[in-house]
């Protein structure tokens, strides 16, 4: 009987080893361990055994049963695992295929520049002032020390609608309006971005419509050195810490003294190249101390108050910063142009 059990064990284990599927394995389980199986049969015949043999055979039979069960269990796990692996293998994908696109547009490059400048000056305590694009001659010219017949009006040939109403030629009227609103009291610290218009034929460097950003600070002790310091902070934050600035005297009717600000050329590091026309410097903006006539017209006592103002062109800054070669790109809105400005630097 012992031999019979051993034989059964060996036989079952061999079959388990050879089995290739879960179904077959189950058949083996039923065949060997089932109620009608050979081991059960052996146990049924135990009654005929002596009292000494009975526990020995009983123990052996259980041992054999457990051994077979364990073997089946192990094999089953192996087969199940293999099945999972096979399923996963079948599910594998080409991970190099493109993902589902997430739609996203982005800021126009001019908005990108303007918001960057706005944020920079907000950090220095400025507010953003806005004003009408169709202006009265008074705010566009006269309040800025440009009386009728002034030769400097030539500098900005304008789109008039009537004799007194025109498309603003600069964002400076916002300064005049803001000062007027403050009724002769300081301090004022504002940045004025917006669209402006001039009678220019559109070409690679001219546009009849373009953007401008102006800044104005009015207070009781505003100095030219404050203008220089402010512009220096702006230039370094906007164009890089390694840039130098230089002020050159210039002329604007609404400021006196007037200056233009250059920054050192990034391309050549100031040694001179085509970008800076071999000067080592690139012109960025115009600025100056607010003309006393402008202060007085807006109701400020020019003996007590001083101020500085500056103005720049976002197109020019974008062209310099991003290397854009034609101002018309900003207004054509070719998506192959627009989508290049999605990147956050």
């Amino acid at each position: 009987m012992q031999e019979r059990l051993k034989e059964l064990q060996a036989e079952a284990i061999q079959k388990v080893d050879q089995s290739a599927g879960l179904k077959e394995l189950n058949d083996i389980r039923v065949a060997y361990l089932g109620k009608k199986g050979p081991i059960t049969e052996v146990l049924r015949g135990m009654g005929k055994l002596s009292a000494e043999e009975r526990p020995v055979i009983g123990a052996l039979a259980n041992e054999v049963r457990e051994a077979i069960a364990a073997k089946i269990e192990a094999k089953q796990s192996a087969l199940e695992e293999a099945a999972v692996q096979e399923k996963l293998a079948a599910e594998s994908i080409d991970v190099t295929l493109p993902g589902r696109p997430v739609k996203a547009g982005n800021h126009h490059p001019l908005t990108k520049i303007i918001e960057e400048i706005e944020d920079l000056f907000i950090g220095m305590g400025y507010e953003i002032a806005e004003g009408p694009e169709v202006e009265q001659d008074y705010y566009n010219f006269e309040a800025l020390n440009l009386p009728k017949g002034h030769p400097a009006r030539d500098m900005q040939d304008s789109f008039y609608i009537t004799e007194e109403i025109l498309l603003r030629t600069h964002t400076s009227p916002v300064q005049a309006r803001t000062m007027e609103k403050h009724q002769g009291k300081g301090p004022i610290k504002i940045i004025c971005p917006g669209k402006v218009y001039r009678r220019d034929n559109d070409d690679a460097t001219h546009s009849h419509q373009f953007m401008q950003i102006e800044g104005l600070v009015v207070g009781e002790n505003i100095r030219m050195s404050d203008l220089k310091g402010t512009l220096n902070v702006f230039a370094k934050k906007m164009f890089g810490e390694d840039r130098e600035i230089r002020l050159r005297p210039s002329f604007f009717p609404f400021t006196e003294p007037s200056v233009e600000m250059d920054i050192s050329c990034k391309m050549c590091g100031g040694h001179g190249c085509n970008v800076c026309k071999h000067t080592g410097w690139i012109e960025i903006l115009g600025a100056g101390m607010v003309h006393p006539n402008v202060l007085e017209m807006a109701g400020y006592d020019s003996k007590k108050y001083t101020g500085f103002a500056f103005g720049m062109g976002p197109e020019r800054i974008a062209m310099l910063k991003y290397g854009v070669d034609d101002i018309r790109h900003f207004y054509t809105n070719d998506v192959r142009f627009l989508n290049q400005f999605a990147i956050e630097e």
Binding site: L97, P98, K103, A104, G105, N106, H107, H108, T111, E118, F121, I122, M124, G125, E127, I128, E133, V134, G149, P151, F159, Y160, I161, T162, I165, L167, P187, K189, K195, R199, N201, H208, G219, E220, N221, R223, M224, S225, D226, K228, G229, T230, R246, L247, R248, P249, S250, F251, E256, P257, V259, K277, M289, T306, Y331, N333, D334, V335, L338, N339
Partner: protein
């Protein structure tokens, strides 16, 4: 203003300062030098040659065979195509091995079988612009005066061994429209002296006043008129050095008399005019305003019709010059002129400006009058010109002048304290330094205690107030020497306004939703200006547009965005979504500033979603556009105040357009562009919206308030309704929400069917209703009670019943 470095040396010692260094110094102290041109750059081995023989080329009728002495032993043979080359001329010869502008290299060559050892040059070939070349040489080679020495450098003789500084003058620095003005500026920068030009004059015995009388009627326009008379002049070419200087300043040489007037214009900044005395037709000069409609032929042979705005110089009867702008053909100096009447006058800038503008004649003279000339240079300039005419035109200058002088000249006297200078500049400059600066400028300056009183010379008409003095100090002290500081005093909070903050939210939301921001022009055509306009207003037209396409201010943004889509579609980008925020302009009546309203517009065309390898392709539809708007209003907290109502908008699809209402008022529309308009723009189906961003962003929103998260489950019941086809889901939803309040929290459409299984004129629409009580779990009975109420309301108010 073009400034010759060599010429400038006559007035200021420039030793030790190269042209490039000088340019840098001038730029840094106030006048931008826009460029420095080296006149003889890239040119070498061009000498004066003497044409010993000339004969026609044996094989070519248009070529000449010349034997030219170039100062190197035997004369050389040169073939020359110029029509005016001839025996006995002194000419510019580019020798074999010479270099000419544009990288041209002269080699020994054979032209039609004849050897040519060099090239006889025109001035154009030496890098001089055609418009600057005296007429007689503009079609051929240049002929030097007989005394030019053979073999010497032809370019040096032509004054081309020079560098030209191009000054970009701002309107306030009209003083530098003259060599003398520039000399004063440079002398101040370098701290050197100014040498004034020679005017030492020997007069004839006859008096100018015997030849002519001067009367001025329009004294405000012309407070000073000085006439000099020069007799026995011989008209010929001016000396080569003078021609060279004129050309380097951008003026074409004519003859000695005319060249001298132009030379003085450049030297003194004082415009002069030379009349042929014998052609004046009278012995008097009368300056007056023209009569309206008076006709006059200027020396460019154009007949001008004058008005009473224009000042004319007359012979007592008819005009002989348009004052300060251009002389008349009737009194022009010609080669036969022997007596010259020389005008040196002070004309009012505004009067000259008007005339030059009206006639489109901007001359060197008018530009100077317009910007203001130095009243104290009117006489010396006339004297100097007469001196040069005596010297270079062989003339006899008559004694004295004939003149009218009612001009009062008062130099500006301005005082300022040292404290103010330092307070405005943020510097610590000493009085001694300030005084030194004014001394260098040759401004009289008197110090009394802390105050310096400055008398500005009349040449510097731009100096009027304290700030002008501060600028002079600042620019010569050097902006580099001003410290870097930041404003002190009370701080101001830097921030965006609520409106500006929300505008940025709108932009970010739309870009996150897949739209590119566009920026387009405010000016458009009459036809496009009002297309898709939200408000029916008059268009605003420019008085003088540059083109019809940019003549009117826009009333809407959409036409421009459709243009953007069209542009991109034509370039293989036919699936695109763009938006723009910007002002539109609403007329308020004529001569009144229009109202400006900020709009938001978006346009979407082509495929909204496209994922090709997974086979997903979804063209844009109404609900894409509307979904973006719903998301936007959600973000702005306005969802409950906005509704969409079926509407007719011109240019839009009649069945696929909704008016957008905020608190019941129309603020814009959303929908499909009318197929005919789509066709007009060559677009596929395109969905758009435009609305008043101003209305949206000015809407006050509720403060953000936390709502507790429900702790009890909700109960959902779905209903499928049969309703009339015309009944819109929005009105059914309103009925449901109203009848189900307060337990009913939401009702959502989840199915819509209007196929042939429905009875004619009916559709099936299914809603999912969500009931909830925040305080407890609802029982089935409670929900059923409310739900029945909802169903009854639907049947009663909309005839919508459960689908059987």
């Amino acid at each position: 203003m073009f400034v010759s470095y060599k010429w400038l040396q006559e007035y200021v010692d420039l030793s030790g300062v190269t042209p490039a260094e000088l340019a840098e110094k001038i730029t840094k102290s106030g006048i931008e030098v826009e460029g420095v041109e080296i006149l003889n750059e890239g040119i070498k081995n061009v000498v004066v040659g003497y044409v010993v023989e000339r004969e026609q080329h044996p094989n070519a009728t248009k070529l000449n065979k010349c034997l030219v002495d170039i100062g190197e032993g035997e004369p050389v043979q040169i073939i020359c195509g110029a029509p005016n080359v001839d025996k006995g001329q002194k000419v510019a010869v580019a020798k074999v091995g010479a270099r000419l502008p544009g990288g041209v290299k002269i080699k020994r060559a054979k032209l039609r079988g004849e050897e040519s050892n060099g090239m006889i040059c025109s001035l154009q070939e030496l890098g001089i612009e055609s418009k600057l070349i005296q007429k007689e040489y503009s079609e051929g080679i240049f002929v030097f005066p007989a005394d030019a020495e053979v073999g010497t450098d032809a370019l040096d003789l032509l004054g081309r061994d020079d560098q030209i500084l191009e000054l970009g003058l701002t309107p306030n620095r009209a003083d530098c429209l003259s060599m003398l003005g520039v000399a004063y500026e440079v002398a101040a920068i370098l701290g050197r002296e100014v040498k004034l030009p020679e005017t030492n004059l020997e007069s004839a015995e006859e008096k100018a006043s015997d030849y002519v009388t001067v009367t001025v009627e329009a004294k405000e326009d012309n407070p000073l008129y000085v006439a000099k008379v020069i007799k026995n002049v011989k008209i010929s070419n001016s000396p080569l050095w003078m021609q060279a200087r004129l050309m380097s300043a951008g003026i074409r040489p004519h003859n000695n008399v005319v060249d001298i007037t132009n030379y003085i214009l450049l030297e003194y900044g004082q415009p002069l005019h030379a009349f042929d005395y014998d052609r004046l037709g009278s012995k008097q000069i009368l300056v007056r305003r023209a009569a309206d409609g008076e006709k006059f032929i200027t020396l460019d042979d154009v007949e001008r019709t004058l008005t009473s705005d224009h000042l004319v110089i007359t012979n007592g009867k008819e005009p002989v010059a348009l004052a300060g702008v251009m002389g008349g053909a009737n009194s022009e100096v010609t080669s036969d002129t022997t007596t010259v009447l020389l005008e040196s006058a002070y004309f009012n800038g505004a009067t000259i400006r008007k005339a030059s503008k009206d006639h489109g004649l901007r001359s060197e003279a008018s530009a100077r009058y317009e910007k203001g000339i130095d009243p104290n240079r009117v006489r010396p300039a006339g004297e100097r010109a007469a001196y040069l005419m005596a010297k270079y035109a062989g003339g006899e200058v008559l004694e004295g002048t004939a003149e009218v002088d009612v001009l009062t000249v008062e130099p500006a006297v301005v005082s300022i304290t040292l404290e103010k200078i330092n307070r405005v500049l943020g510097t610590d400059i000493q009085m001694k330094e300030v005084k030194d600066i004014f001394d260098r400028l040759q401004f009289d300056a008197v110090i009394e205690d802390d105050t310096i009183t400055v008398t500005a010379p009349t040449r510097r008409g731009d100096i009027k107030i304290e700030e002008d003095l501060i600028e002079e100090v600042a620019r010569l002290f050097g902006y580099d020497n001003i410290p870097y500081t930041l404003p002190i005093g009370s701080t101001t909070p830097g921030k965006l306004s609520e409106y500006q903050k929300k505008r940025r939210v709108v932009r970010q939301f739309l870009e996150g939703a897949g739209l590119y921001q566009a920026v387009t022009y405010s000016l458009t055509s009459e036809q496009k200006a009002a297309q898709f306009a939200l408000e029916n207003r008059d268009t605003i037209r420019l008085a003088m547009p540059m083109s019809e396409d940019r003549s009117v201010l826009r009333l809407s943004i959409l036409p421009q965005l459709l243009e953007v889509l069209k542009y991109n579609s034509a370039r293989q980008n036919d699936s695109l979504a763009v938006y723009e925020t910007g002002n539109v302009f609403l007329a308020n009546g004529t001569d009144v500033q229009p109202e400006e309203s900020e709009h938001l517009a978006a346009a979407i065309t082509g495929l909204w979603h496209h994922h090709s390898w997974q086979g997903e392709k979804k063209p844009v539809d109404f609900f894409v556009a509307k979904g973006i708007l719903e998301g936007l209003f959600d973000r702005l907290g306005l969802t409950n105040r906005v509704e969409y109502v079926q509407a007719q908008v011109e240019g839009m699809h009649p069945g696929r357009t909704a008016e957008i209402r905020l608190n019941g008022a129309k603020i814009g529309f959303v929908g499909q562009v009318h197929p005919s308009v789509q066709k007009e723009f060559d677009l596929k189906d395109t969905y758009v919206f435009e609305l008043s961003l101003k209305a949206v962003l000015n809407e006050e929103t509720n403060a953000l308030q936390y709502q507790s998260i429900p702790r009890f489950p909700s109960i959902t019941r779905d209903i499928a309704l049969v309703a009339d086809k015309e009944t819109v889901s929005g009105s059914l939803k309103s009925i449901i929400l109203e009848a189900g309040a307060p337990l009913l929290k939401d009702a959502e459409v989840f199915d819509l069917y209007q196929g042939d299984k429905m009875e004619a004129g009916k559709k099936s629409i299914a809603f999912s209703l969500k009931y909830m009580d925040p305080e407890r779990t609802l029982t089935d009975e409670e929900v059923t009670k409310v739900h029945d109420r909802v169903l009854n309301a639907l049947a009663e108010k909309a005839g919508a019943v459960l689908r059987g």
